[in-house]
């Protein structure tokens, strides 16, 4: 197993070089083009266009009886375009729904292609063998002539993206605006469609008709998690696509009887899963952690405020409080309370005293701040928004965790530095208290 692997990557076999470079080029161009489809929310149109290419390939073969890459490519482009216009016609001029239009073209064209394929297989033509490899892709079947033609087509579709990047980005992300500034949207739509058709058609060789959708979709779906900027995503898509192309060429070389398309999908799925889980900011794990941190902060702040409220009622912030008492003023699960107390102890906001707890000076200051936010907001709502005093508590429960010192100051100023909240309780003023304590 290892030896052929090394032999492949030593690139001593000239055929390997051709196959590898072809696969890398095709992979990166489909990855880049696919991202435009994704952002236009037409992710599955690539699937339909790939299926729609099949009858073109077969018809070209029947007509010219040759497997010349140019003939095959031409046929595929033509029939893929017909498929595209059929979908477009149904969307614009009939009540057929969008997803149905895709499914109709996909299955009808594929059926025509298969019909022709089974017809060809019974004919007596020498070149017909291997024509069915287009269904699931076979990278190893690429020869030099194929790679040159496909490579030029791939470069062409990449060149379209590079040359018209600004325009294509605009019609992809904001069509209304593009139309409003008088851009020729129809022309650029067709240009983009041409690039899509071209890269779908050339991708068929290594990815296969059936799984072509994956080659278009996976790179952008994975790249999307890593960045918010289109140029970066496009670059990532190119790299991911190229990687999958290289790996599938490798597999096809090691196990010639295996179709390459499915393996490429498995590689892409791995890349996608890794991105989905581990990407910073947008990845599932990172989002989960961020959520948890936010919930923890909210719990901690609620805990501190409960301490403050109890202390305020007793008019004594020094006597330690039993955890059960906290539960009597705030609806909190025992486990969350326990965790929250431990975190606050670690931050030296709460101190332990014989299974009871009290706020430290630092904790008291923080608790006053939160309580101040809460009560200021309650007052703000009753005064400025005319909300009844008994309705303001729930909103304040949320807003107390969001306010910043700057906002607090502005609200306080607007209310004329008030002393009491709408329920008649004092609004703590931490600067004042802190000043008193230091004195």
């Amino acid at each position: 197993m290892l030896e052929p692997f090394l032999e492949f990557w030593s690139l001593s076999d000239p055929n390997v070089v051709w196959v590898l470079s072809g696969a890398v080029l095709l992979g990166s161009s489909t990855g880049v083009i696919g991202s435009f489809l994704f952002f236009r929310k037409h992710s599955l149109i690539g699937d339909a266009l790939a299926h729609a290419a099949l009858p073109g390939v077969m018809s070209a073969f029947i007509l010219f009886q040759s497997r010349d890459p140019l003939v095959i490519l031409g046929g595929a482009v033509v029939s893929s375009f017909i498929g595209f216009f059929f979908i477009d016609y149904m969307n614009k001029h009939t009540k057929i729904k969008e997803d149905s239009a895709l499914a109709i073209v996909l299955s009808l064209f594929f059926a025509i292609g298969i019909f022709e394929l089974t017809y060809i297989q019974k004919l007596d033509i020498a070149a017909k063998s291997g024509l069915d490899k287009i269904l699931f892709g076979q990278a190893a079947a690429l020869v030099r002539a194929d790679v040159i033609v496909l490579g030029i087509a791939g470069l062409l579709s990449l060149a379209i993206v590079v040359l018209f990047y600004d325009k294509l980005r605009l019609i992809t992300l904001d069509r209304q605006f593009a139309r409003a500034i008088g851009m020729n949207v129809l022309f650029y739509d067709l240009l983009l469609t041409f690039a899509v058709v071209l890269s779908v058609v050339i991708g068929l060789q290594i990815f296969g008709v059936v799984l072509m959708a994956a080659a278009l979709l996976f790179p952008v779906a994975a790249g999307r998690y890593w960045s918010d900027s289109l140029p970066w995503i496009l670059a990532l898509c190119g790299i991911i696509g190229a990687t999958s192309g290289a790996v599938s060429a490798n597999i096809s070389y090691l196990a010639p009887q295996m179709p390459t398309g499915p393996w490429m999908v498995i590689i892409l799925s791995l890349i996608f899963l890794l991105s989905l889980c581990f990407a910073p900011h947008r990845g599932v794990i990172s989002r989960y952690l961020k959520n948890r941190r936010r919930n923890q902060r909210i719990n901690d702040e609620n805990l501190l405020r409960s301490f403050y409220v109890i202390g305020e009622r007793r008019n004594d912030f020094v006597r330690a409080i039993a955890p059960e008492q906290i539960l009597s003023v705030r609806n909190m699960s025992g486990w969350i309370l326990h965790e929250s107390i431990r975190r606050m102890q670690r931050k030296r906001m709460i101190e332990h005293d014989n299974f009871h707890y009290r706020l430290t000076t630092k904790g008291l200051r923080e608790a006053e701040k939160i309580t101040r936010y809460h009560r200021l907001w309650e007052l703000y709502l009753t005064r400025q928004a005319n909300v009844a005093p008994n309705m303001v508590h729930d909103s304040a429960e949320d807003v107390e965790h969001l306010l910043t010192p700057e906002l607090e100051q502005r609200i306080s100023q607007e209310l004329g530095n008030p002393q009491n909240d709408p329920h008649g309780r004092t609004i703590p003023n931490h600067q004042l208290v802190a000043g008193e304590q230091s004195r």
């Binding site: 001029h93 009939t94 997803d99 594929f110 089974t118 059936v210 994956a214 979709l217 779906a221 295996m258």
Partner: protein, 296 residues
């Protein structure tokens, strides 16, 4: 003659069951989910076969249904957790599961009795030879019995759930307001599609299933104004496609299932051109009529 008769019977049953459940899917905007399911049930077949080592109908139905539900569930999960567009999720899930199935098949060739061409376009011509024995008696092709079962199940499903299906199909938010569980109906419909697909699969392959689920239903959708009309007309179109497709295939000596799908497509295009207010003929007439009025 009996051979031909069996093929007609199998094709018509397949067409009927697909058209019935397909009409509901088209109305629910689930056409591409149908496409996804028709690919992923293959994984169900392969896994069921690998686990049990047999090809009985029960095992096949269970495997396909489980994988069908898993497909829809994973799509929803990815949509919610991964924050990706719905159709992108469909594409990701179905290509992954289908690729897995193909790799399993090519890794265990010989052990699994399905080859790649067979699963894509089936071979209905051989279906009558694969007969089913019950109590030692030869009672006809397996495909016939499984399709008969699914057709009856689909009919029962529609008759029993008719009001719910109708409400959910046309106005999902009204259905929710009336206390119907849209999710339950969604998953029930998914189950029916999985069953239909797997029963059709062996005889006609994955692609024809999509064609028969979507095309006759949409042909009827072009001009029908009620759900009953759509159900009836889609079945008529589907059966017409099966019979004309068979003769086309015999004439050209090509795949019967592909020919049937093709014929259903041609019927669709024919209706698109000729029937209804949105038809091409009406559009042309309207345009010229309008022009003449402008001139005068």
């Amino acid at each position: 003659m009996t051979h031909e008769l069996w093929i007609f019977l199998i094709a018509s049953l397949m067409a009927t069951s697909c058209a019935l459940v397909g009409s509901l899917m088209v109305l629910r905007r689930m056409a591409m989910i149908g496409d996804a399911l028709s690919h992923t049930v293959l994984l169900g077949l392969v896994l069921a076969f690998m686990l049990t080592g047999e090809r009985s109908l029960t095992v096949m139905f269970v495997g396909a249904t489980v994988v069908g539900l898993v497909t829809v569930f994973l799509t929803d999960l990815l949509n919610r957790m991964g924050k990706l567009q719905k159709d992108a999720c469909i594409g990701i899930v179905f290509t992954f599961l289908f690729a897995l199935a193909i790799i399993l098949i090519s890794a265990y060739t010989g052990e699994i009795d399905i080859d790649q061409e067979h699963l894509l376009y089936g071979e209905i011509a051989f279906a009558p030879f694969d007969t089913f024995e019950w109590q030692g008696q030869d009672v006809g092709p397996r495909a016939f019995w499984s399709l008969l079962f699914v057709t009856v199940a689909n009919l029962l499903f529609i008759v029993i759930g008719y009001r719910h299906l109708q409400t959910v199909a046309f106005n999902a938010s009204l259905a929710t307001a009336l206390g119907m569980s849209v999710n339950l109906i969604h998953y029930a419909l998914t189950t029916m599609v999985s069953l239909t697909t797997v029963a059709s699969f062996e005889a006609v392959g994955a692609i024809l299933v999509v064609a028969m689920l979507v095309i006759p239903a949409n042909t009827a959708y072009l001009f029908c104004r009620s759900i009953q009309g759509m159900l009836i007309w889609s079945v008529i179109f589907a059966i017409a496609a099966s019979i004309s497709g068979y003769y086309l295939a015999v004439w050209a000596d090509a795949s019967i299932s592909a020919a049937i799908a093709m014929m259903s497509g041609f019927i669709f295009i024919l209706i698109l051109i000729t029937v209804g207010p949105e038809s091409v003929i009406q559009k042309i007439k309207f345009r010229f009529g309008l022009n003449r009025m402008n001139l005068s």
